[in-house]
């Protein structure tokens, strides 16, 4: 040992210690060091060091072997965990939890609320992602989708012409089965004989027509009937369980006779209700062969949904590549027969039918809304919810980390004593992890209770039926959550706490390191950044939804009733009904129409104005006399349709249409209508008699497009909707009077009467729901963050007790102490706000508001308001502690020196 200052390389020691783990190596290290110093005498320092490394590496397998042996064989081996120590850790942990009740409460409450939010969001996300996954062979089922090309636009359609299903099954080997399902037919009147042999009539919605392959492809449970044949024959009908129950109660519905649209159907099967997590929604399915037009070829007019089941291992992309040829060979002849124009010319003009497949499992979340039966989900929204869940999780974890490190000085002495008594760092880490595990366990337990209590309300909010099912899987997931949570939240604090130097700690000059303070402030900034962003987003969402529900639609929706029904083929009935309603004292005016804004009956048609040769596709409404007046459309020029005149060849345009057709002086000008729907190509020339102000005839997601209003007199004054303007406050009487009039005139038909306001509200349900979910979780996130802040402020104040005492002795007042303690937090919240404002502004601009044709401008005051509110709430939270510190008598804080 000639040169004491030359030491074996440190990294080798560290490496050696690392792979030796808990193996007993004291003697080995000694041996190695002795050899090293012996070698120093024989060779160069570098060689000796190399030799040292060689020696260390040569012991690798030996060490690995020794690591595994913890048992009695080597009694000198150091075990980091054993039962009695574990017991001690548990005791200390519980003492700590019980001894600091406020701290424990903050921790557990924060974790519980955070975890409950996370798990509820997870349940919601899981339910959104679970659509259509439970069908047998779901992965081999695809839906046929049509991309319809027009010269000026393309449109994705969920529906396709019905004949392709049979063609696909016949011509392509890889297609095992194909099915056609058509619908929904709403407001169908069904009648059957009641138990007293009287005829009962009911209105039935969600009626579909399908072929016999439907139930062979989709594995809905069949409660009664033969799956493969129950829809085979015309006039057979399958009811869902709940439909059967609704009509027949406990009686067996199987084999009953039901009349609908002039056909007598036999109930040949009863199936389960389509589960909520499928994109299907039907109550009654009839055999599609009952409807005559489905027995004829149709390759051009989309009229039904088509699903394919491919054979195992089939490639859907390869199949798709054969579709263009299929369209050419089948659709062309059909098209030319109907439209009397060449298929090739039609395609050359930029029109086309492109078919493709979408997997069943992706239908619900598809952005193109290709499900057709239910409102679709939104994949972006699902991702955002996942993001929120993770962020709330993070906020809850940060609370734990911050509180644990902030109060480290309380545990420092304990750590020092444990170290002096021979505790290893690993053991201390384990001890503190153990504590975080206990807190997580209690937190998650409490979260589970919170979820059970609040899930019914959450279901109301989300319009779902979420449940926390207790089974092995849930238990495992919860266990994993607890472990992950205790590691995420506990790892950093336990390393901080266990790394204290016992000499410093026990001497008493232990101070919280500035680094720890920085990390804590950083984490608090992160928490508030997230919560403030969420709150800003939520407020903007709420403003937008309020804006939508209060936006002037261009017509008067207050006190407006609408009757809808399947009565368009009975003009004399509707005319007399309108007259009767008009005569009611509570009704200001009433009129009928084939089209209803925001509801239905508005289709694109082709027009050509006399001023320009261009043919334009323009939305068209068919309204009755006085409908415009009842709705409150504002006439800008010319006149409305009226009872006194025959308006069958007159049209009214909206402002946008006047602009698009380039008409400078529209009244009296001619506009030509080109019939396309039935392919006759017939031309009708109309005279423009009026111009009305633009009104929103679709939802507010869309801009107002050009609109041509024709009179329903051109189609025999038919009506599908009857609206009635009611005197203010006379809703109730008006409704009951209309009901009794209806019973007089149509005793066999159920009445469907709604308030237009309610109909409009329903269009923005999705946005409202999103906004409500956001409101809930942003409030929860900021609440959790505040809980953390409260705890943190308490400990900051307690750390500075003496300082405050001295300051007070020298004359500081409550206000000084208040500023002293709050300035740090104020800065933190301000920084978070500065980070949050641009991010949330950007998110709302690019993601949320872009989806609306009519939207609010984000106000700087909204954002600033949130900032000020956040600061105020944060200050209130820390004020309690600051004031408490401020009014404490300095004698109390200084006496124990």
């Amino acid at each position: 040992m000639k040169e004491q200052n030359i030491k074996p390389p440190r990294f080798v020691d560290q490496l050696f210690d690392w792979y030796c783990g808990n193996a007993p190596i004291e003697d080995l290290r000694g041996d190695m060091e002795e050899l090293f110093y012996t070698n120093l005498g024989k060779m160069s320092v570098a060689r000796a060091k190399l030799k040292y490394l060689q020696q260390a590496l040569s012991l690798f397998f030996y060490a690995i072997k020794k690591r595994k042996q913890k048992s009695a064989y080597h009694q000198y081996s150091q075990q980091s965990i054993n039962l009695s120590m574990l017991k001690n850790y548990l005791i200390i942990a519980f003492r700590n939890l019980i001894g600091h009740k406020a701290y424990t409460l903050i921790n557990v409450l924060g974790l519980a609320i955070g975890m409950a939010s996370c798990i509820m969001l997870a349940l919601y996300i899981q339910s959104e992602l679970s659509y259509d996954k439970d069908f047998a062979d779901a992965e081999s089922i695809h839906k046929l989708i049509l991309e319809r090309k027009y010269p000026d636009k393309t449109q994705i359609l969920a529906g396709v012409p019905h004949s392709f299903a049979s063609v696909l099954a016949k011509d392509y080997q890889v297609v095992e089965r194909a099915t056609t399902i058509c619908g929904p037919f709403d407001d169908m009147i069904i009648s059957y004989k009641g138990s007293d042999q009287s005829n009962l009539n009911y209105l039935e919605n969600d009626v579909y027509a399908a072929d016999s392959n439907f139930f062979k492809i989709f594995s809905f449970k069949i409660l009664k009937g033969d799956r493969s044949t129950m829809l085979q024959h015309p006039k057979s009908m399958v009811l869902t369980e709940s439909t059967a129950k609704r009509h027949f109660g406990d009686e067996d519905a199987f084999g009953k006779l039901i009349t609908m649209s002039g056909n007598v159907f036999t109930v040949t099967g009863i199936c389960e209700d389509p589960p909520t997590n499928t994109h299907f929604k039907f109550g009654l399915v009839i055999s599609i062969h009952t409807i005559e037009r489905f027995n004829l070829d149709n390759f051009n007019r989309p009229d039904s949904y088509c699903y394919l089941k491919l054979r195992a291992g089939a490639n859907s992309i390869a199949l798709e590549s054969m579709f263009p040829k299929m369209v050419d060979s089948y659709a062309a002849a059909d098209f030319e027969r109907v439209n009397k124009t060449s298929w090739l010319d039609y395609k050359k003009a930029g029109n086309g039918y492109t078919y493709f497949l979408r997997p069943l499992r992706s239908i619900y979340l598809d952005p193109d809304d290709i499900g057709g039966m239910k409102p679709s989900g939104n994949i972006i929204l699902v991702r955002i919810h996942i993001g929120i869940a993770i962020l709330i999780f993070a906020i809850a974890c940060i609370n734990f980390i911050n509180l644990a490190t902030a109060r480290s000085h309380e545990r420092a002495k304990e750590v020092g004593v444990r170290k002096v008594l021979g505790s290893f760092k690993r053991q201390l880490v384990f001890q503190f992890l153990n504590e975080s595990f206990i807190v997580s366990f209690i937190g998650v337990g409490l979260a589970t209770i919170l979820i059970i209590v609040s899930l019914p309300y959450f279901n109301l909010l989300t319009d779902k039926n979420l449940q926390l099912v207790f089974n092995l899987q849930t238990a495992l997931v919860l266990a994993v959550i607890i472990i992950v949570l205790s590691l995420l939240a506990g790892l950093y604090p336990s390393f901080v706490l266990s790394s204290f130097k016992p000499v410093n700690v026990l001497k008493g000059n232990f101070t919280a390191t500035p680094r720890g303070k920085w990390i804590r402030s950083g984490l608090v900034v992160f928490q508030f950044w997230i919560s403030i962003s969420l709150v800003i987003c939520t407020l903007i969402m709420q403003q937008q939804t309020t804006f939508l529900s209060q936006k002037d639609l261009g017509y008067d929706r207050e006190e407006l009733l609408v009757i809808e029904g399947n009565f368009h083929m009975r003009p004399s009935f509707t005319r007399s009904l309108v007259n009767e309603i008009n005569r009611l004292p509570q009704v200001l005016s009433s009129a009928g129409s084939l089209s209803m804004p925001s509801m239905n009956g508005i289709y694109p048609q082709q027009y050509q104005s006399e001023d320009s040769p261009e043919i334009r596709s323009t939305h068209t409404m068919y309204i009755g006399d006085e409908f415009a007046e009842t709705m409150g459309f504002k006439l800008l020029d010319g006149k409305q349709f009226s009872v006194a005149t025959n308006d069958s060849l007159s049209v009214i345009l909206n402002e946008s249409a006047v602009k698009t057709f380039g008409l400078s002086n529209p009244i009296g000008k001619k506009i030509t209508f080109l019939e396309q729907t039935y392919g006759s190509g017939e031309r009708t020339t109309f005279t423009i008699i009026g111009v009305i102000k633009d009104f929103h005839y679709r939802t507010l997601h869309e801009a107002v497009n050009p609109l041509v209003i024709q009179s329903n007199e051109i189609i025999f004054s038919r009506m599908s909707y009857i609206v009635a303007k009611v005197k203010p406050g006379a809703y109730k009487e008006a409704i009951s009077n209309i009901e009794s009039k209806w019973k007089e005139l149509a005793p066999d038909m159920p009445l469907r009467l709604r308030m237009v306001d309610g109909v409009l509200e329903a269009h923005y349900q999705k946005e409202k729901r999103t906004s409500r979910i956001f409101t809930l979780f942003s409030s929860l996130s900021i609440f959790v963050a505040l809980i953390g802040l409260f705890g943190l402020s308490a400990y900051t104040a307690s750390l500075r007790t003496k300082e405050i005492g001295i300051r007070k002795v020298f004359g500081a007042g409550i206000v000084d102490v208040f500023f002293l303690l709050t300035s740090g937090f104020t800065r933190t919240v301000l920084i978070s706000f500065l980070l949050a404002a641009p991010i949330s502004w950007y998110l709302m601009e690019t993601w949320w508001l872009r989806g609306f044709a009519f939207r609010i401008q984000i106000s700087i005051w909204t954002i600033l308001g949130v900032g000020i509110a956040a600061l105020a709430i944060a200050l209130v939270t820390v004020t309690y502690q600051s004031v408490k510190a401020g009014i404490t008598n300095p004698i109390r804080s200084l006496r124990n020196e």
Binding site: M1, E26, D27, L28, R29, G30, D31, M32, E33, E34, L35, T38, Q54, Q55, L57, S58, L59, F60, F61, Y62, K65, K66, Y73, Y76
Partner: protein
């Protein structure tokens, strides 16, 4: 066969025996290197020592900490009775085979 020991194990056992009270890692290694004139790594040595210890042929204890070696204790080794038996067994086997040898094993020509 129980108690069978390999050549290197035998070497280590005999070295431990020859070192008496001073048999610990470094001294064993140095002695083997000196006597057998071959270089061995500490890893190989300790693998063998562990094996011998598991077989119950040697036993070990930790010495007192000294100022040398950074205060780290040495682990000393000692042959157990079982170890002695094994050594005897090997030696007996060799002697018997020497005696039975029909070839002249004498190096003298």
């Amino acid at each position: 066969m129980k108690g069978y020991i390999g050549e290197f194990e035998e070497l280590v056992l005999l070295t431990i025996a020859s070192l008496g009270e001073d048999a610990y890692g470094v001294s064993i290694q140095e002695n083997i290197e000196k006597i057998s004139n071959r270089s061995i790594s500490i890893g190989a040595l300790h693998s063998t020592i562990t094996r011998l210890e598991e077989k119950g042929l040697i036993k070990s204890w930790l010495g007192e900490p000294t100022q040398e070696r950074g205060g780290r204790r040495k682990r000393f080794f000692e042959i157990t009775h079982q170890g002695k038996l094994s050594l005897h067994h090997v030696k007996d086997l060799r002697d018997a085979l020497w005696k039975l040898s029909k070839a002249n094993l004498s190096l003298a020509k």
